[in-house]
Point group: C2
Chain length 323, copies 2
């Protein structure tokens, strides 16, 4: 018995292109292993004229409704931003489609409303790709550690800042290191979202919502813009490095969150995160410290998280048409 899964793709940039490639590469294995036949049925793009290797031209459209009304099982939202993305996701949920998204800004801004809407329509929103790329931290919190009370979450959640700090340890100044991150495709379109801590704060917010389900009592956000080469050298002399650490912890009556540069001993797991690597340490009352790490960015790692969510939608709802 094969379940046929019709996928509508909103956005075909780095991650969207990665997903198209991954579906082509893994399609046969997934069909044989899980009995799921994946088909991308429509693809929304901004520029319909651009050449996109691997993407069937006939699937491409510049009209979102062509995708949203194409009778899909899953809508994959990869356009980013809050306004258009939000209205597309709402329309998909209202039509009874599952949604998979990598859009942390959308979830940080209106996650609660969207999850409630998904529940009313008996569909799911997969968002593993929105935090830490291929590292399955959303599943770890949602499922693997669901039986435990989480006391704190701390991590290196922004690959760009970590890349910049790692390059500065090698002697580059801040501006040159940032340019190098952008050239390597790690930085967000607007790098200030990375550098000022906003991106890490959004991811932390998503993880904290999963872990604590409690009001935010205090939130601090500092980026790495002020970090100088002299401070990096000074840290090194003390046997430390500087890392942008995001931390959320349970306090009386709620949750306290902070994103800030910290001095971290070189032997610490956070110090050992180099370049665009992400690390998350989850402290549970019964389970102790569980640490997850891996590539937090990049088209294929992120696309692999999207694809896992697509497979899980199918697994959970079992509403896909049988071929």
């Amino acid at each position: 018995m094969t379940h046929h899964v019709r996928i509508g793709l909103l956005g075909c940039g780095n991650v969207g292109g990665g997903l198209v490639q991954l579906v082509a590469d893994e399609g046969v294995r997934i069909r044989e292993r899980y009995g799921v036949a994946l088909e991308i049925v429509r693809v929304l793009v901004r520029d319909g004229e651009r050449e996109r290797p691997g993407v069937d031209r006939r699937l491409i459209t510049t009209h979102a409704l062509d995708v949203l009304d194409a009778d899909c099982d899953v809508i994959v939202e990869l356009i980013g931003g809050v306004h258009s993305a939000g209205s597309f996701v709402r329309r998909a949920l209202a039509r009874g489609c599952n949604v998979v998204t990598a859009n942390k800004a959308l979830l940080a801004n209106c996650g609660r409303e969207l999850f409630a809407m998904a529940e009313r329509n008996d569909v799911t929103i997969g968002f593993e790709a929105s935090v830490c790329g291929a590292v399955p931290v959303v599943r770890a919190l949602r499922r693997g550690l669901a039986g435990d009370s989480i006391e704190s979450i701390a991590g290196i959640l922004n690959g760009t800042c970590n890349y910049v700090l790692t390059r500065m340890e090698e002697g580059l100044d801040f501006e040159t290191a940032l340019l190098r991150a952008q050239a390597n495709g790690f930085a967000e379109a607007d790098p200030s979202l990375d550098i000022d801590g906003e991106d890490a704060a959004q991811k932390l917010r998503i993880l904290a919502d999963l872990a604590f389900d409690a009001p935010v009592r205090r939130a601090i956000m500092m980026g790495i813009r002020g970090v100088t080469s002299a401070e990096i050298d000074d840290a090194s002399e003390k046997g430390c490095v500087i890392r942008l650490v995001a931390e959320a912890r349970r306090v009386a009556g709620g949750v306290e969150m902070s994103v800030a540069p910290r001095l971290v001993p070189k032997s610490d797991p956070f110090a050992r995160a180099i370049d665009e690597e992400n690390v998350v340490m989850i402290r549970g009352r019964a389970s102790g410290d569980v640490t997850l790490s891996g590539r937090g960015a990049g088209p294929l790692p992120t696309a692999s998280a999207v694809l896992s969510d697509i497979l899980e939608c199918g697994d959970r709802s079992r509403r896909f048409a049988t071929v």
Copy 2:
């Protein structure tokens, strides 16, 4: 809407006792957060006379059928071994109960048959607790990385061997270190299962089945019994430590598995696993290296993995009676 989940517990040793405690500690939170009301309805023990703090005496029985026929939603199998445990699990599946188990020997020996039986009866077998305690590596492979082709899995899967090796680095000889591991409750009842590599091999087999779904072409199993203090010192002079590394990797036509002591540079993530810590590194074609680590043994970490599986049974099948 609250789902009521009736749990039948087979075995009330370290992990079973941990589960009883965890259900008491987390019950209110889980009811409020997930709408699931957990109730342990019967508990099978070997010695009905022993005092068990926190366990209601009226639930205790020494007859397995009292538990298996108690109209449970989930049977939790924590008695270990293959023969009795296997027949209890088969009976539970045949009755349409979900099963959660921490029994790696059972899964390594007859996992394929039991999973097929579960599928025929439209129930699930949760086994997160069978590998690496609280570290959600089973979920990472089953779900988080389902969209990717796994190339290799390598890890420190046996906490006892790692504890012994770590103590030997501090100057203890093999026998004294092993006695210390037993005194701390890490070692299996029969420590030769740990020391000779069998326990790590069983866990590796479970992970490899999840990751590769391919025949085993070659398997090597060596334990740490022959490792001497002189070898530990010699490794240290080379900037290395000795670790019992379990590795499975895709080769032409199947999978190659090995469990063996290896020389590992001190800067390696495997070297940094100390005492009973477990580490697993999963290499995916698209996702790159994803590493998970945490406490691989102990009553509460293992019980927290069992409880997460209980919650997921309920979430997936939605067959629990509504109160």
